[in-house]
Symmetry: C2
Subunit: 292 residues, 2 copies
C-alpha cells in the first residue's frame, strides 16, 4: 500500500477550511499565520510559498515578512517581539535555516510559546515530551496523522527511527513511545554512531527514516511486511527537470516498496503532511486550544 | 565490577563541599536549597531527610517547609510563588507525590524554571531534549555521572531502557542518544506494551531498568559482558529489618551480576547518585550556571 500524503493533506486542509468557515460564520476570528523569511535560499522560498498557498486553502489570513540575508539579529528579534504583541497574529514561524550571523536558538526562544506553531520553543518541546497539550513540531505530527488515518497499528510494534535531530528524530521517538494511539511502540533511535543499524532495521515493524541520505534504506534492511515512512527530501541535480533537481528520499523506494505493507513515497508522502500539520497548529492557535 | 554509587556520591559531595568552601571564602554566597514536604508519606520523609543531610555534607544552607496533607493547592502555590521571589533561595523542590487534591503538574509549572533544580519544569525538559544547558532531572543525570566516572563506553553501544516515565525513562533515552559523552548510544525504550522486551534486552550492551518491578530483569535477559544499571527501589516487606522493609531493585542481582561487566547494586547504586545530582543542580543554581 502506498500511503498518499498528498491526498491525505488535501483532505485535512478541506476539513480545516470547513471548520474555519464555521468559525467565521458564527462571528469568530479567521486564524492568521505570519511567516518571516530571511534571504533567498531556494528551499526556503519554496517552503514558505507552499505555506502561504496552504493558508489560502485553509481559509487563513497569512502575512509574509521578508528580510534580506544581511538583516541583523537585533532587527529580526524586534520583529519577533512585534509579532508576539500583535493580537491579530495567532501564530508565526521564522523559516529556518537563518544566516550564520543570527542565532537560530535565540530567535526561537524569543517567540512567544503560545504563538510558536512550529513547536520549536523549549516549552513546547518539553510539554510534548511530558505528554501535555502543546504545539507539536510539524513533521512528527504529520507522520502520526498518516499512521492514524491509515489505521497502522503501532502498539507493541518495534519502531526504528533513523536520525536523532531535534525537529524529527527525537520528537518522533518521544511520540511513538507515548501512552496513546498512535504510540505505545517499542522505539529504537539509530544515528551516525550506531554500529548495529542494519540489524535494528531488519527487526523493525515500522521504519521512520530521517537522516537526509538518498536511498540509505535498502531492501536488505527491511523486513517483509514492514511499514516504511520516508522523511528524506534531498535535492539531487536532475537536468531533465525544469527546476534542475528532483527530491530524493532516504529510502530506495523502487526496491523497498515491494516488501512493505505500507510505504510513503517522496515526493507526495511526508512532505505535504508537514505543511498540513503547521496548518492544524495554526487552527489550534486561532482557537486558543492549548494556551490562552 | 560493582559500580559503587554510594562511594561515588560521597566523593562528589566532597568535591562540591570543597567548591562551596572556595566560593564562601572568596565572599560568594552559600547555595541555599529549600524543600517543600506535604504530608507524612514514609518514602517522602526519608528522601527529604536524606536531601537535608546531603545539603549539610555539601555545605549548603537548607530550609525544610512542611505542610499537613490537607494543605490547599492555593496555599501551596502561594508558597511556591514566595520561594520564586525570595532571592536567598537559589533552588527548591516540591517533594512528590502530592496528595490527590493537588495538581502536581500545576505546582511544577508554577516553579520558576531558574530555580527548578529537580528539572521537572517543561522549559528544563525541553532544553534538555534540545541539548541546551539546563537542570537535568536527578536520576538520569546521576546515571550519566556513574557511566562517566566508571569510564563505561556508550558510543555506538546498544542501550535498552526499561520504562518510559517522565522522570527516568524518557529523559534517560534522550541523554543516551545525545551527541556527547556519555551518549551517542543506539537507544531502545521498552515498556508495558513491548512485545519483544526480552529479545531487546538480550541484545543490549547496556540495560537501564526503571520499571519498579522487583527482580524483573533475570539472567536469561542479559548478554554476557553487559552493563546493567538498576533504578528500581521497591519497598518489600521484611520483618527481619528494623524498618520493616528492604529496598528491592528491578534486577535479579544475585543471578545477573556474575554475567555483567558492570552492575549497580540496590541499595548503594543509583539511589545515592540521585540525591547527589540534586546537590550538583543546587550548586549550579547558586553559581547561576545555566540562568541569570
Amino acid at each position: 500500500m502506498i500511503i498518499d500524503g498528498k491526498a491525505t493533506a488535501t483532505a485535512i486542509k478541506a476539513e480545516i477550511a470547513e471548520e474555519v468557515a464555521r468559525i467565521v460564520a458564527s462571528g469568530g476570528k479567521r486564524p492568521h499565520l505570519a511567516a518571516i523569511l530571511v534571504g533567498h535560499d531556494g528551499g526556503s522560498e519554496t517552503y514558505v510559498k507552499n505555506k502561504v498557498i496552504a493558508c489560502e486553502q485553509c481559509g487563513f489570513t497569512s502575512t509574509l515578512i521578508r528580510y534580506e540575508a544581511d538583516v541583523t539579529e537585533e532587527e529580526l528579534l524586534r520583529k519577533v517581539d512585534e509579532l508576539n504583541r500583535n493580537d491579530d497574529i495567532d501564530g508565526f514561524i521564522v523559516q529556518l535555516p537563518l544566516p550564520r550571523h543570527i542565532s537560530e536558538q535565540r530567535v526561537i526562544e524569543a517567540i512567544d510559546y503560545r504563538k510558536d506553531v512550529d513547536g520549536f520553543h523549549p516549552i513546547n518541546v518539553g510539554r510534548m515530551s511530558i505528554g501535555l497539550p502543546c504545539y507539536i513540531s510539524a513533521t512528527p505530527n504529520g507522520i502520526l496523522e498518516l499512521l492514524r488515518r491509515y489505521h497502522i497499528e503501532t502498539s507493541g510494534k518495534k519502531c526504528v527511527i533513523l536520525g536523532r535531530s531535534n525537529i524529527v528524530g527525537k520528537p518522533m521517538a518521544t511520540l511513538m513511545m507515548q501512552k496513546r494511539q498512535p504510540g505505545d511502540a517499542t522505539v529504537t533511535v539509530c544515528h551516525s554512531h550506531s554500529t548495529n543499524l542494519k540489524e535494528e532495521c531488519r527487526q523493525a515493524d515500522i521504519i521512520i527514516a530521517a537522516i537526509g541520505t538518498p536511498h540509505f534504506v535498502t531492501a536488505d534492511m527491511v523486513k517483509p511486511g514492514a511499514v516504511v515512512i520516508d522523511v528524506g527530501t534531498t535535492r539531487v541535480p536532475d537536468s531533465t527537470r525544469k527546476s534542475g533537481y528532483r527530491l530524493c528520499g532516504d529510502v530506495d523506494f523502487d526496491n523497498v516498496a515491494p516488501l512493505c505493507s505500507a510505504i510513503t513515497p517522496v515526493p507526495g508522502g511526508v512532505g505535504p503532511m508537514t505543511i498540513c500539520s503547521l496548518m492544524k497548529n495554526t487552527l489550534s492557535a486561532g482557537k486558543k486550544e492549548f494556551y490562552q
